[in-house]
């Protein structure tokens, strides 16, 4: 029987030769990821109540990213508790203030094709960029996973999303996702496994694929899968994981595997997208969006502050200045992104344009750290979500866009199309090439 990639991974994790969509199965978890917000402080009391420890500390990765760096005694206490818990339970892999969990997992080669990953965070599907079946769960369920190494699962159907053609200048993975959010609506994937495909996919760097997989969460997918190719192997190689070519053929859907639906998107016809408050599905082409004046432009989050994202912003900002009356805040997604952006001059470009650098971490994305908004303020952000009140005061308004569009808007002081700014360059910025070099 022909199977989808999702079915193949679930079957392996469930110890079965095959599974059918709709079946209730129990999967063995290959990797469990916890962060400071939903992690130890929530799961520790539950594990205590159960009277058990971790089923396998070597399969657990702990990341402190939400409340870093501490801004008050309460967040400091949460970070302290996280450290103590990690030590007490023998969790050797605790990435403490080294970046946002989903990016850190990828950078260290913790997520690989065919793995079954459970994370205490809704953007856990980011790992699907590496063809891992990765799903987000809440704290009680995470505690159950930590206690038993198992999780219940209704085998999902697959929604296939085919990307045709090549995106034009100024159009990147974030635009693809915002357009998809508008097309199928928030949660439109109905907790199916999303599998990206199509000839356009090959052109996306790993970090761009991470953006595609990341926002599978907004589409409502249980996970977002990208079948592996040479780029996947090259990224993993750099992270110290050598995989054979056999993995490339093993972890992909059979050509005739039945899927619930197939959706096509023509990349060459796509314009940069902007999602209006208060939902990612309120997306529209940037030239159809009112050029609203903005108080804050934010380049941050697992979705929009990886090295490729920062380079995109720099390509727009080089030799330009952030508009008076507007602030541009940049929080690189990880310590490694920070280092590499410093080494290649990206950071200097950003700060010369007037960007204010913030620590690596979730920060303003979830309204936890530096960069939150005042009542009535307007922000354009490279993050994944613009729910009411998420980034600060309830009456603040957040628009979502790609790092290119956020940077262009910072320069204009209002929502702006990045394409004219990119076209003004004598030599067009080689985003695709740079991206290829990275991923």
């Amino acid at each position: 029987m022909a199977e989808t990639l999702a079915q193949k991974i679930v079957a392996r994790a469930a110890g079965r030769s095959s599974v059918e969509p709709g079946e209730l199965v129990t999967c063995r978890v290959d990797l469990a990821m916890l962060h400071d917000s939903g992690g130890p402080r929530r799961v520790a009391p539950i594990l205590e109540r159960l009277g058990v420890g971790l089923w396998d500390p070597s399969r657990v990765v702990l990341v402190s990213d939400h409340y870093v760096p501490a801004v008050d005694p309460e967040s400091a206490r949460i970070l302290d508790l996280t450290r103590r818990w990690g030590r007490a339970h023998g969790v050797a892999r605790h990435y403490d203030m080294l970046g946002i969990c989903h990016v850190v997992l990828a950078e260290h080669g913790h997520v690989r094709p065919g793995m079954f990953v459970v994370g205490g965070d809704s953007h856990t599907p980011t790992a699907g960029a590496f063809a891992a079946f990765a799903m987000g769960v809440g704290a009680s369920e995470m505690a159950a996973v930590l206690a038993t190494g198992e999780i219940w699962l209704e085998v999902p159907e697959t929604l296939r999303i085919l990307l045709d053609g090549r995106p034009g200048p100024g159009v990147v993975a974030k635009d693809v996702l915002l357009a998809l959010c508008r097309m199928i609506g928030l949660g439109g994937a109905g907790y199916r496994a999303i599998e990206y495909g199509g000839e356009g996919l090959a052109g996306f760097a790993m970090e761009e694929r991470m953006t595609l997989a990341n926002m599978a969460a907004e589409l409502g997918g249980i996970t977002g899968l990208v079948p592996p190719d040479r780029r996947t192997l090259a990224w993993l190689e750099r992270a110290g994981v050598s995989l054979g070519e056999a993995e490339l053929t093993r972890w992909r859907s059979d050509p005739d595997a039945p899927v619930a639906a197939t959706l096509r998107l023509e990349l060459d016809r796509l314009a940069p997208q902007v999602a209006a408050p208060h939902g990612p599905a309120n997306a529209a082409p940037v030239d159809e969006v009112e050029p609203v004046p903005i108080d804050q432009a934010y380049i941050g989050a697992c979705t929009g502050a990886k090295l490729v994202d920062l380079r995109m912003a720099a390509s727009v900002l080089r030799g330009r200045k952030v508009a008076a009356g507007t602030r541009l805040l940049v929080a690189p997604a990880s310590a490694r992104v920070w280092r590499e952006a410093a080494a290649d001059g990206t950071l200097a470009t950003l700060t010369e344009a007037g960007a204010i650098m913030l620590p690596s971490g979730c920060g303003a994305c979830a309204g936890y750290g530096a960069g939150v908004l005042a009542e009535g303020e307007v922000c354009i952000a490279s993050t994944a979500r613009n729910f009411k009140g998420r980034m600060g005061a309830p009456s603040s308004r957040v628009y979502l866009a790609s790092p290119l569009t956020v940077a262009a808007s910072a320069v204009a002081g209002r929502i702006a199309d990045p394409r004219p700014l990119l076209a003004e360059r004598r030599e067009p910025e080689p985003i695709g090439e740079e991206a290829a070099r990275v991923g």
């Binding site: 917000s37 939903g38 159960l50 809704s122 809440g138 009680s140 109905g190 936890y368 009140g389």
Partner: protein, 171 residues
């Protein structure tokens, strides 16, 4: 086991997200405090106007957003016993069941007004509007999962399983 429940219907719309249910600003504090702010951005009186035993009737994609289970927990703390929605965001759905809060998919429940009395049978998959007697088909919760919900969620359920295993080991 308590198969059916009856209560007052409390209505909300589509795409009610986890930031509305569990606002980020109160995430550091205790759940009782967080619950007082549940849905306040939508309806400032929500926490004061729901009563224990209420059944929340929602539109599509209920609970979209983050994995924070406080979104489901806040509703439980306020005494809500079940959420009936046209559709759920997957993680919220799992969290609710794992916390012992019934989450039932009911694609159509038109004609039910705020505070009308309804009866829910999660096992059979049926919602009844008591005033009109109209019955709406829901997706039944598989027996295995319902057992977990009725034992109070995944933690009490696991607690029982572990205790049983230990007792077996001791023999």
């Amino acid at each position: 086991m308590s198969a059916e429940l009856e209560g007052r219907a409390f209505l909300v719309g589509d795409d009610v997200d986890t930031d509305l249910l569990a606002p980020g600003a109160y995430m550091k504090g205790p759940i009782e405090e967080l619950a007082r702010h549940c849905l306040e951005a939508l309806d400032p009186d929500f926490a004061r106007s729901v009563r224990p035993g209420d059944i929340l009737l929602a539109g599509r994609n209920f609970g979209t957003g983050s994995s924070r289970e406080q979104a489901a927990q806040a509703l439980s703390v306020l005494g809500i016993r079940a959420v009936v929605a046209r559709s759920f965001a997957g993680i919220f759905y799992r969290n609710a069941l794992n916390l012992g809060l019934l989450a039932v998919v009911c694609p159509e429940w038109d004609g039910i007004a705020r505070f009308d009395r309804v009866r829910l049978d999660p096992r059979a998959g049926r919602l009844v509007h008591l005033a009109s007697g109209r019955s709406f088909a829901c997706r039944p919760i598989p027996g295995h999962l319902l057992e977990m919900v009725e034992s109070g969620g995944i933690v009490p359920w696991l607690e029982r399983r572990l205790a049983a295993r230990r007792a077996e080991g001791a023999r």
